[in-house]
Amino acid sequence: MKYAFPLAAVVALILIALIAVQIPGMQYLFGVIIPYLAVAVFVGGFIYRLCYWGKSPVPFNIPTTCGQEFSLPWIKQDKLECPSTRLQVVARMFLEIVLFRSLWRNTKATMYEGPKLTYESSKWLWLFGIVFHYSFLIIVLRHLRLFLEPVPSCVALVEILDSLLQVGAPLMYITDATILLSLIMLLLRRLWNPYVRYISLANDYFPLFLILAIVGTGILMRYFIRSNVDIEAIKQLAIGLATLHPTIVGPISSLFYVHLFLVCTLLVYFPFSKLMHMGGVFLSPTRNLANDSRMHRHINPWNPPIKPHSYASYEDEFREDMIAQGIPVEQGGPQEAGAK
């Protein structure tokens, strides 16, 4: 039932925007004021979270290693799974961020009669995860056409490639289908798989429902309920926001305001939720450290300073007590005094 509350929250957000924009004048609130606040909270929150993480010490050298570490010359090192130099770390991070390599390793244990235990690699999470993220990226890039004038040719190129199938008019975008499919599969995975369902919390479901609602309203607006989806007016609003002279020319569909309000909610929610893995992945010590603790000393920043304490100074500190107890000392002992 942990999905019920997030679902209700998203439905409530949709209803709030849908009903509120019927009131004259509220378009300005939902089209201008809330978007500005949301961008401010997003940027500020993002900076705050990264600085907060930057202030946290990393006491130990804790890269996750999953291969042969750097050793003798005739033992082949697994440079990606157990990097020992900065370049190897960069290569590993790059592949992690671009290809989600660690999800490729998702193993699933199954118990059969016998009893017989098998392990197999389950690639579904990787597949739908990567399809979702790239679709999202492409959709955000394509949306830049609404915010930039003249539209840069790289954005135009993304549009052309994404609508290459030339289905219908307005042209169908491939990423609209793939993002919807991957979101639904990611959601079904949480609901169906008993283990994943057990560990899923409200804050796992909320982003899924929220993004599903954003994508849903976007798709409705483009292909199904086009009434008053006047791209020219919307672009003038978007450019007005970006040039700090916001104007709302003419009526725009309430569906658009719902879409925008949900996006604003996402922006505000982002820095304070698990979605911050976007910035966090770069700061994750299990990934961004090299396994080189035998070559370089990892300094724990919160260790108190350890001053060297030589035997000579030790003896200086305890000489009286040592002599009193009859313990031999190197300097200033009774034998020395007697010899003189």
Partner: protein
């Protein structure tokens, strides 16, 4: 803060990327496209607001009806007959593709591929 230089550089890149629209646009970007409206007619096939938002769906329906279903009967709007056609309808009134369709499409970054085959009015 540990790794101050690296984290600040990363943050700067993210913030600049998010704020691109705020730097990219200039005063010229704010101007909406100026379209040449038809002089030989008062009304479009559908009311103006509907045309602006839905003309591509209208064209798509017409195309499907004519090419797929073979139904090329003209549509009747306000007692006036319009052929279901791109060249023989829209372009009869909107005689300039460059100053009407294209102006608006460039602004919204849309590139209808219809003109690969259909003929645009000579300008």
């Amino acid at each position: 803060m540990y790794d101050r230089v690296k984290i600040s550089t990363g943050l700067l890149v993210v913030v600049l990327l998010v704020l691109i629209p705020f730097f990219y646009n200039n005063d010229a970007s704010k101007a909406a496209p100026e379209l040449t409206m038809p002089t030989n007619a008062k009304a479009c096939v559908l009311p103006r607001a509907e045309m602006r938002a839905k003309h591509m769906q209208l064209l798509n329906t017409w195309r499907d009806e004519v090419v797929r279903k073979g139904d090329s009967r003209p549509v009747l709007v306000d007692g006036k007959e319009y052929p279901k056609s791109l060249q023989l309808n829209c372009m009869e009134c909107h005689t300039s593709k460059v100053n009407f369709c294209d102006k608006c499409h460039n602004y919204s970054s849309v590139r209808p591929y219809c003109w690969d085959c259909h003929l645009a009015p000579v300008e």
